[in-house]
Subunit: 561 residues, 2 copies
Amino acid sequence: MMKTACRFAGGLVFSACLPGLAAGQESPIVRDAEYYILEAQNGDKWVQEDQSIDVALAAFQEANEGKPPNIVYILIDDIGFGDLGSPTLNAVRGYATPAINEIADEGMRLARMYTEPSCTPTRVAFMTGRHPFRNGMGNTSVDISGFGLAGKEVTLAEVLSDVGYNTVHIGKWHMGDIKEAWPNWQGFDYAAFPIHQQGQLTIFHDDAADEEVSIGIGDNNYDRRYTIDGWLRTDASSMVVGVEGERDQTVMEVDMAPGERWTEAKYAAMNQRYQDQAMERLRELAAKDEPFFLNYWPLYPLTGPRTAYDEYTTPNGGTYVEKMKLVDQWIGEMMAEMDALGIAEETIVIVMGDNGHFTKYSPQSGYTPMIFRGGKGSTTEGGVRVDAFIRWPGMIEEDTIANDIFHVSDFFTTLARIGGATDGIPRDRVIDGVDQTSMLLNGDSHGRRDYVFLYNIDKLEAVVKEQYKLAIPGGNIDNAILADFYDLFRDPQEKYPVSTEIGAWGGAKFVRMIQRHLKRKAKYPDEGPALGMPYEGIDNLRPESQAAVEEFLFMVQTPEK
Amino acid sequence: MMKTACRFAGGLVFSACLPGLAAGQESPIVRDAEYYILEAQNGDKWVQEDQSIDVALAAFQEANEGKPPNIVYILIDDIGFGDLGSPTLNAVRGYATPAINEIADEGMRLARMYTEPSCTPTRVAFMTGRHPFRNGMGNTSVDISGFGLAGKEVTLAEVLSDVGYNTVHIGKWHMGDIKEAWPNWQGFDYAAFPIHQQGQLTIFHDDAADEEVSIGIGDNNYDRRYTIDGWLRTDASSMVVGVEGERDQTVMEVDMAPGERWTEAKYAAMNQRYQDQAMERLRELAAKDEPFFLNYWPLYPLTGPRTAYDEYTTPNGGTYVEKMKLVDQWIGEMMAEMDALGIAEETIVIVMGDNGHFTKYSPQSGYTPMIFRGGKGSTTEGGVRVDAFIRWPGMIEEDTIANDIFHVSDFFTTLARIGGATDGIPRDRVIDGVDQTSMLLNGDSHGRRDYVFLYNIDKLEAVVKEQYKLAIPGGNIDNAILADFYDLFRDPQEKYPVSTEIGAWGGAKFVRMIQRHLKRKAKYPDEGPALGMPYEGIDNLRPESQAAVEEFLFMVQTPEK
């Protein structure tokens, strides 16, 4: 990525770093087509708003020893809209998230936050400001796969780091098992994370097989008489689990010795370790002169089978619900620590979900879709609308709600601006993230997007503009003009197709919107993910992990012979 | 109903009126079977709690010139759970109810409020403390029908009136078109109400026919060639609309002259009139020495076709949503008036829905089921779970949520107790309403029911105990032991049947619960509604209304010849 000359240092303001004042960055950010339409209609107003925003951000920095705010970004896995932030809905569900509710009360609720429909693409969109169909990361890998987020993608960690932020990532990452995709190679000074995701860690291990949570795996859980080869049942314990390392350095796997079996207890220990590390790093980062970006992405609430030693602590008692309660408690401890460290006023805290419920384990998980229809993997609102709260004392008005559309990629652009790092945003590719600083600082109805394209992997399955949603079955966009519309305010569960006045034949204006979008894609074509050798760059790779890589290569290479 | 010797007078406390201290009332309230089980387990604790509650209520009265609190009960028609009281869910729906949200914030949210599945039975349950299957009022009449709530039923208005409350009813009543059923014959000193319901007033009139909201009615809206007689299409304008009158007196129909047609504009005027009357009566009642019970049951949000003069004032814009916004504004004016009158501290305010959404007009109404499944007419949670908020400054802790089960009939018993009128509760019939004062004053987990029987008209369709719900398809209770269970915390939409450990074969303990309930019904058999002559007791009955009654009688009597 490109470098700028500006870095923050304790007590000093480099004027070149002030938002909107940076020089030397001539070319504008490349956008998707729809943004240009909005900009043409509203650009003058936005320029005016931006001037006062620049003044406000500069005033914040001046009061903060010349530094932009710290950023703590907490991303919760697979939790549906309404399960966080609302005591009423907590009550419906039979549990409570008081710490997160308090963050919501002290800040802004982003009521129309859209993500991608599953973990990997949402996380990619946040880190790169780009819809993941653009860089081959719309798909999710659950085993050894040899692909990941390309090193040439520019992440929020990189652009913030480049203007002086210290950057740490703790917890889930899930953007591939190749080195260049990992957080410590993508702009984080330090990272502790599992290479894969929680499937390996919670439902593919022996404990889960014993409890029949997953079927037909493990040593003693199935009759092999019809098994001719073994690839269908990867031994999850042979896959690398958690690694830790410094920026642009090899990493070390932790808490697994050669031959050791992964267990639910080890998963619990891993979760606790990440919480402890997040707290420890928070203290370290707070002690430094530079602002920081702490990415904390817990693995809980996803969890494996209930074990006898688990206590019920909520009326709901679901496996995920109990762990969500624990994550909430942990977040509360983190907030208290920020108060104790005296950094609450200078720190933006964001808590949000990464996509809808993982309904495969409903209702035992304690979670089922409640407000919207569908869950993870779906482009109905239940898959892509999430709880999202942002607190920035004194800058974002407390106890407010903004009902403008916000896509998770907007945080890339918005936080880059707030961090004074807009210049670091690359100009050679489409950036989908919109600068929503005005919405955060000026409140409801000051958003800068009224649309979102909802992809499932690489298929466009729905388009939202204002409150209208065109749902395209199977992503067959050739038939979009005849597809059903929903009014999301009147019908949040998308059950009653409506007529609209939006063009003759209803869908015509949406079809033109899709055409503009596709034309833009033709100019800036989608690319695939980076491919590479799994697990390269791990110092202490276990022999069984090496063997698993070899099996993977065998599977890739054999059919090509 | 029986009388007691105690009445309140300004500034004087009659000790016989203090709750719990009343003498001369020897026989206990007759309960359903399940209550006795709970009482046997928890009675000692309840007695202790009741002693401190009596002290608290007495202290309130002493500070309030010897009077129990005023009661303002606002019942909103056909609005689903989550549409009131939550800014986040307001945002999902694209509108806002700030006045009601403020009441909720200043009081207690009753998160598990159950009603009956439609208007009439819910209103009967509130007024009588009894499930309406017991008195033939589970059904709903939409035209001239000659039945209604029996005069021998004892209403909350009667028991409160009997201890000195002034009582006024304004708005929807919908408990029958015979005199003895009307609010001014059921304990209200004054009542202004439509005889029937909003169907007549909003969708069966000429405007609605012209807009094709209702089909094949009116003078110019259908081809009569196959119509042999006319009874299928009652002329709604011939039915009595709004009446007003004093207690135990004949009433007068208002705002309709002989031959006049009912219109949507007249419906709007009726709504405004009820709001104006509610405000006027509030001021009158506040000026008197006695405490008061004001029952205000708006007709809105139900409304007819949008007319060109209706402005859009919300992003949702649905016909009901727009009117709900207006009702919220009206409630806000009422709350402000209470402040201005200086009675806010001495007045209990309750705002709640009467049953789930009327989905027949989704999504044009702006409302569709959102959190629970189903709507009005259904015993899934979407039909019978409603928003409910209660404010009593200084007595009910503000900004709290209680997640105990509460049935609308509980208000009868609870408000009678708080009003010092427990002695007036009849002892010769089953009272389903449970005294929930402890839940209101002591908060979450101090409720006194963990069950509710959910009837549809006269069929038991579901049983809730704790968080488990047995859903009995078609009310076929003989098959209840094999019916599906749902865990309502884990699965609010009742989509994933679960196994339970509650007895062998899952349903066994629920079946025994039903058996106990039925045994009790055998001892106290269900009765039918009161039957009578429609429209008797209206001084200025229009000729066309008299003709409509004669047609009704012709229809009843002809087949019997």
